[in-house]
């Protein structure tokens, strides 16, 4: 395959399909669930579960593979990123099961998302009050007791955590240590089905943006799951063995980030495009055309801003697609995924902030959605690894440094 920027027919159809879905089903309720924080967006959840998840057009074999997932994500988040995150999906928890689970585990936990029961959600619970980016500092414990693992601890910032912990059929993938002395090597991922005794929804965060999404604090008190809910192996690799470890558990779960970061980057691109599209339509409405060949002394500040925004957004999108296309080829993409995530988070933070500025008082008003997109966009600089964490990952890769040499 040569270098090509041409979307396959299938992906183009899918893009149009999801764009129409965003226009019809997300935009109309976007402000409503921004204001009604913590309410379940039933219109969307029910419709998506009954119809939205079905009938995606095109032939699967002829799509752009992982890039198509990015394209679809961009469209839905162009519609509303908060509602996208509240969609009944297997989510990050599903990605972890997909990446590190056995065949049996995949069947057991993921088939509900193809089924016709009530809506279900998957989520991942990693962060703790004193362990943000530093997964080695995880305090939640998993102790073996007979055939079970018993979890104890509290997780914060669990995206989708209400749905996943409460709605039957869903599950939360919980990261816990089975051996504190082993640091990172002792950390394992456990699938905790919704409604498991001992898993409690402590509360939901009040957030700057993506208010339609449920960011939960979950506590685990003697929360018991069967031993075969552990993803990967229970073997503990000590720190000095970590490099040579073939443990599909921790590494496999970590690898879900390489797969999920392009998706998260695509979410960012969707929000950024929403703001840019609005600005461009406003300019058009006022008869202002962007001149790509404007004489240098005559270019307006507005033109330059808009052109910069276009370039930044496209740069983020192309890095995102590049990271996804490497997955299509089965190539390791940890560097490229972090590049895409870092760039996209920063780019859409700037684009949405600029959009509010360019629109003046109207941009600041809740009469338009632009101010909301600024608030929504900012999450992309923060979750799934902050800007700084992704810079750190990129830096380690380009310098060929282990994490011990660059923290």
């Amino acid at each position: 395959m040569p270098i090509s920027f041409e979307m396959s027919e299938t992906t183009r159809l899918a893009r149009d399909h999801f764009r129409a879905m965003a226009v019809e089903h997300l935009r109309p309720i976007s402000r409503k669930y921004d204001l009604q924080e913590h309410d379940l967006p039933t219109e969307w959840v029910d419709w998506y579960w009954k119809q939205g998840r079905k009938s995606i057009p095109g032939k699967a074999g002829e799509s752009d593979g992982f890039i198509q997932v990015c394209v679809q994500t961009e469209e839905l988040c162009w519609g509303d990123a908060g509602l996208y995150l509240r969609t009944p999906f297997a989510g990050l928890g599903g990605s972890a099961v997909g990446a590190a689970g056995t065949k049996e585990q995949k069947k057991r936990f993921l088939s509900v998302f193809q089924g016709d029961g009530p809506p279900a959600w998957g989520a991942m619970a990693i962060t703790e009050a004193n362990a943000g980016s530093d997964s080695a500092a995880i305090q939640t414990t998993a102790t073996r007791d007979g055939d079970d693992w018993v979890l104890n601890g509290t997780k914060i910032f669990c995206t989708g955590g209400e749905g996943a912990s409460q709605a039957e059929g869903g599950f939360v993938v919980v990261w816990a240590t089975i051996d504190k002395s082993a640091g990172r090597g002792g950390i394992k991922a456990f699938v905790v089905p919704a409604g498991t005794e001992g898993m409690t929804l402590v509360g939901l965060e009040n957030k700057l943006g993506i208010r339609a999404s449920d960011t939960a604090t979950l506590s685990f008190e003697n929360c018991r799951v069967p031993s075969d809910n552990l993803l990967g192996s229970a073997e503990v690799r000590k720190k000095d063995q970590a490099k040579s470890s073939g443990d599909k558990g921790f590494k496999g779960a970590m690898a879900t980030f390489d797969a999920s970061r392009p998706i998260v980057a695509a979410m960012a691109v969707g929000v950024g495009r929403a703001a840019l599209d609005y600005v461009l339509s406003e300019l058009e409405h006022h008869g202002i055309e962007l001149r790509y060949d404007a004489p240098p002394a005559e270019q307006t500040a507005l033109e330059r801003d808009a052109i910069d925004m276009e370039a930044e957004l496209q740069a983020a999108r192309l890095l995102t697609w590049r990271a996804a296309s490497m997955m299509n080829r089965g190539r390791p993409n940890s560097l490229e995924a972090s590049m895409a995530k870092a760039k996209a988070g920063l780019a859409v933070t700037r684009i949405t902030q600029k959009a509010v500025e360019l629109l003046g008082p109207r941009g600041y008003s809740k009469k338009l959605l632009v101010e909301k997109w600024l608030r929504d966009a900012k999450i992309n600089d923060i979750y799934e690894g902050t800007q700084q964490i992704n810079q750190l990952i990129v830096a380690r890769r380009i310098l060929d440094y282990p994490s011990s040499m660059l923290r």
């Binding site: 943000g132 980016s133 500092a137 509010v356």
Partner: protein, 362 residues
């Protein structure tokens, strides 16, 4: 002689206001933002400090000590506490100061004593307009002379609209020249709709529609002489630059303190160069922006043209405040996105400076 240290008297004022901001304003900021309401009693308390009245002429019961520099110092401290509440506290100046600068004797005699009195009286100034490319120097709201009246038509936004007053100062275009008009809030044809904005949620502001609003010729600010909108916007930019410095400093300090508390990978995150250098940049930019704001204020006090300096200062500090607030969110990481902490509030407020004009005056 060049010098950049407030006088002893100014330092005393700053100290008092800073204490007020810390003890009375900051603790109320979050709740006020969430509820979209001004806290009971705060404005009366602030009034007792005498933040606006000293700038009014002695003839009308004021202190006769107008100083843009002092006003800038006060504005920064108040806004450090909270931007919405600072703007509410400073709102009397929105009407009082233009009336001092341009009002006829009758207008001064009628309006000024209330601001110098014992109780807090807010002010409303209608300048910005809810349209693309809104231009504070060239309002599109129009004023037509009709016999002994003026008839106003158009739309305004970001108009502070606290309870307790009955007048709004509206700027409109009269035959190609912007002029101010003192309009009763109850005037026929005037509709005020409470705004919802991304930030400054505690400050009640409205979008105004003016349809054939009729006021007598005497309502024209400055009577036949009129007023100078360019100078007013300049004073607004200085005041807003100072408040933006306050917001930026608040974001910086909150981020700095958090970075010194929070640990990751076994050290305080402030010990990480990426965080430490970000904080250093904030500190440098904030100090620079403050000096630019002071220079513009000083020029006003000297009676020198200050549009250029005020604009430089405002443009810089808009950027600086946004970057400081955005940077604070980054320093806080996930907590920066949560409404239990201040950075997201600072971010929402800081971005407002892209839309604000003359929401405060010096």
């Amino acid at each position: 002689m060049l010098d950049f240290e407030p006088s002893e008297e100014q330092q005393l004022i700053v100290e008092t206001v800073r204490q007020f901001a810390e003890q009375e304003i900051r603790p109320l900021a979050r709740e006020a933002d969430e509820s979209g309401k001004l806290p009971d009693g705060l404005l009366a308390q602030a009034h007792e400090l005498g933040l606006v009245a000293p700038a009014l002429p002695e003839a009308q019961g004021g202190g006769g000590e107008r100083s843009a520099v002092t006003s800038a110092l006060i504005a920064e401290e108040l806004a450090w506490g909270d931007l919405s509440l600072a703007l509410a506290i400073l709102s009397p100046g929105l009407v009082a100061l233009p009336v001092v600068d341009y009002g006829t004797e009758a207008q001064q005699a009628e309006l000024l004593p209330r601001y110098a009195g014992g109780s807090f009286v807010p002010g409303s100034l209608a300048l910005q307009e809810p349209r693309f490319g809104a231009d504070p120097f060239r309002p599109r709201t129009s004023a037509h002379r009709d016999d002994r009246d003026y008839v106003l038509d158009g739309a305004k936004c970001l108009v502070p609209w606290q309870e307790g007053d009955d007048t709004v100062l509206v700027f409109a275009d009269e035959d190609g020249h912007p002029q101010g008009f003192l309009v009763p809030r109850e005037a026929k044809g005037l509709r005020a709709e409470r705004e919802q904005n991304m930030g400054i949620q505690a400050l009640p502001t409205v979008e105004l529609r003016l349809e054939g609003v009729r006021v007598p010729a005497e309502a024209r600010l400055g009577g036949n002489e009129g007023s100078d909108l360019g100078a007013l916007v300049t004073r607004g930019r200085v005041a807003l630059a100072a408040t933006a410095v306050g917001v930026a400093r608040a974001a910086f300090e909150v981020a700095r303190d958090y970075a010194k508390e929070r640990e990751a990978f076994g050290v305080k995150i402030a010990q990480k160069q990426a965080i430490a250098f970000k904080l250093a940049d904030m500190a440098i930019e904030i100090d620079a922006a403050r000096l630019l704001a002071w220079e513009a204020a000083w020029r006003l006090d000297q009676g020198l043209p200050a549009l250029r300096e005020a604009t430089l200062a405002y443009q810089q500090v808009r950027r600086v405040a946004l970057e400081a607030a955005d940077g604070a969110v980054q320093v806080f990481g996930g907590h920066g996105y949560i409404r239990d902490y201040l950075p997201e509030l600072h971010l929402r407020n800081a971005r407002g400076f892209a839309a604000f004009e003359a929401l405060a005056l010096v």
